[in-house]
């Protein structure tokens, strides 16, 4: 499974959850700024992904994964993402255009960066983990 394979099903879920036309959805669209998603939509969206793909994707998993090996203190200071944290974020969210990473980004603003592709990657990773678990 790769991003292109899961995209049609992820796109269908986004259409359903956000009640937007399918032709407005593309891999590079950001859920909050481009498609008008709100926090409750993420909840709904994650739940639908879990049902559709039979995976467990805790809602904060993306933020956790994005921190990589950095400790909380290394990643953020006073709720603002540090320079090291920003580099880590850019690396993890490689699908997000560089200009979207504003200076002094707050931790609670990280979801504004998420694109449709971010969630496709989340699904691909979760499916990979699930398969590894089965074969282990």
């Amino acid at each position: 499974m790769d991003v292109q394979t899961v995209y049609p099903r992820v796109s269908k879920i986004i259409t359903d959850v956000l009640a937007v036309d399918e032709n407005k959805i593309a891999l590079n669209k950001r859920l909050i700024t481009d498609l008008g998603a709100e926090s409750i939509d993420f909840l709904d969206f994650i739940f639908q992904l879990e049902r559709e793909f039979g995976i467990k994707t805790p809602i904060r998993q993306i933020e956790k994964d994005a921190r990589g090996t950095l400790s909380d203190a290394e990643f953020e200071k006073g709720g603002v993402v540090t320079e090291a944290g920003m580099n880590q974020l850019k690396s993890y969210l490689s699908e997000v255009p560089a200009e979207c990473f504003k200076p002094n980004l707050k931790v609670n603003e990280i979801p504004t960066l998420f694109t449709v592709e971010t969630f496709c990657k989340l699904v691909v990773n979760a499916l990979q983990k699930k398969n590894e678990g089965v074969t282990a």
């Binding site: 359903d16 709100e38 409750i40 939509d41 909840l43 709904d44 739940f47 805790p58 809602i59 904060r60």
Partner: protein, 292 residues
């Protein structure tokens, strides 16, 4: 007018199942007219009772730290009505309780003598700090009063209810119609009066308009809208699904509701709801009516 719909909790398995009772009495405040023009407990209030039952479990399991609030509901199926004299058995099952992500997912069933009245499937509710909404001591007193574990439950026969309405039922009326296109769409406005008595319980420290009443209002408005074109038919709401609440409706808010007819097929009408306050989305949902 209290807004508490669990009369007894007879079983509570922390983080899992809860069983409770709700007696429907002739002086219940939230009795409405069903499709047979009989007094019946509003279906959304039965759903509210299931939500409150799950809420008691979460409150107790979290040692009074959190309470769930309305979020996303996949589906509510409405099968039958409950009338004065009926005792409703409420069963709620927590499918997952996730303290880290502050989220509960539950399902539930309400029945009278084994006959299912209503089911709730996959209700996802965020957990918020209890003391933002309720007075801790009052919640503890209420729980002690409600929790009366018992090993058995004697099922009562359903009431053979055939009386037609003699009193005015509870109706959540719109204030004005902003637009009405037959067979397509209706837009109506309602002001949520700060004087409404349900605000004393919902919630004591942070009054918000109950989602169950908002949904009942949507169903009643949809009924008015559909009835105009189907005068000769009896209309019964059978399913409410894809419910998503984004924000609270506060006392004094003007709620603008748009109801759109999506489809009429095989004697079923499907409508979508969208509630807004100050052009901001509050709630969306979809409902299905049976036309007979």
């Amino acid at each position: 007018m209290n807004f508490l719909f669990v009369d007894r909790i007879i079983e509570l398995n922390p983080g899992k199942e809860t069983i409770g009772l709700k007696h429907v009495t002739a002086d219940d405040a939230y009795l409405s007219a069903n499709e047979k023009n009989q007094l019946a407990l509003m279906p959304c209030i039965i759903g509210e009772a299931l939500g409150q039952l799950c809420s008691w479990n979460v409150v107790k399991t979290s040692d009074y730290a959190f309470r769930p609030v309305g979020g996303v509901i996949q589906e509510i199926q409405i099968f039958a009505a409950a009338h004065p004299g009926d005792t409703i058995l409420l069963e709620s099952h927590i499918d997952s309780l996730d303290p880290e992500n502050k989220l509960v997912n539950f399902s539930g069933r309400a029945s009278v003598s084994g006959k299912t009245l209503l089911t709730v499937t996959n209700s996802l509710a965020p957990l918020l700090p209890l003391d933002e909404f309720n007075h801790l001591e009052k919640v503890q007193i209420d729980f002690a009063r409600l929790y009366q574990p018992q090993d058995y439950y004697v099922e009562t026969e359903p009431t053979n209810y055939d009386a037609e309405l003699e009193t005015k039922p509870f109706h959540i009326e719109y204030d004005k119609i902003l637009s009405w296109e037959n067979g397509k769409e209706i837009v109506a406005q309602k002001n949520v009066s700060p004087e409404a008595l349900y605000f004393t319980d919902h919630f004591p420290k942070k009054p918000v308009f109950p989602l169950s009443l908002l949904m009942e209002y949507n169903l009643q408005l949809a009924h008015t809208f559909l009835k105009k074109e189907h005068l000769e038919k009896s209309l019964r709401p059978s399913i409410v699904r894809k419910v998503k609440i984004n924000n609270f409706v506060l006392p004094g808010d003007d709620v603008v509701t748009r109801i759109t007819l999506k489809e009429i097929k095989d004697n079923r009408a499907i409508v979508s709801f969208r509630n807004e306050v100050s052009n901001k989305r509050i709630c969306i949902a979809e409902a299905e009516f049976e036309l007979t």
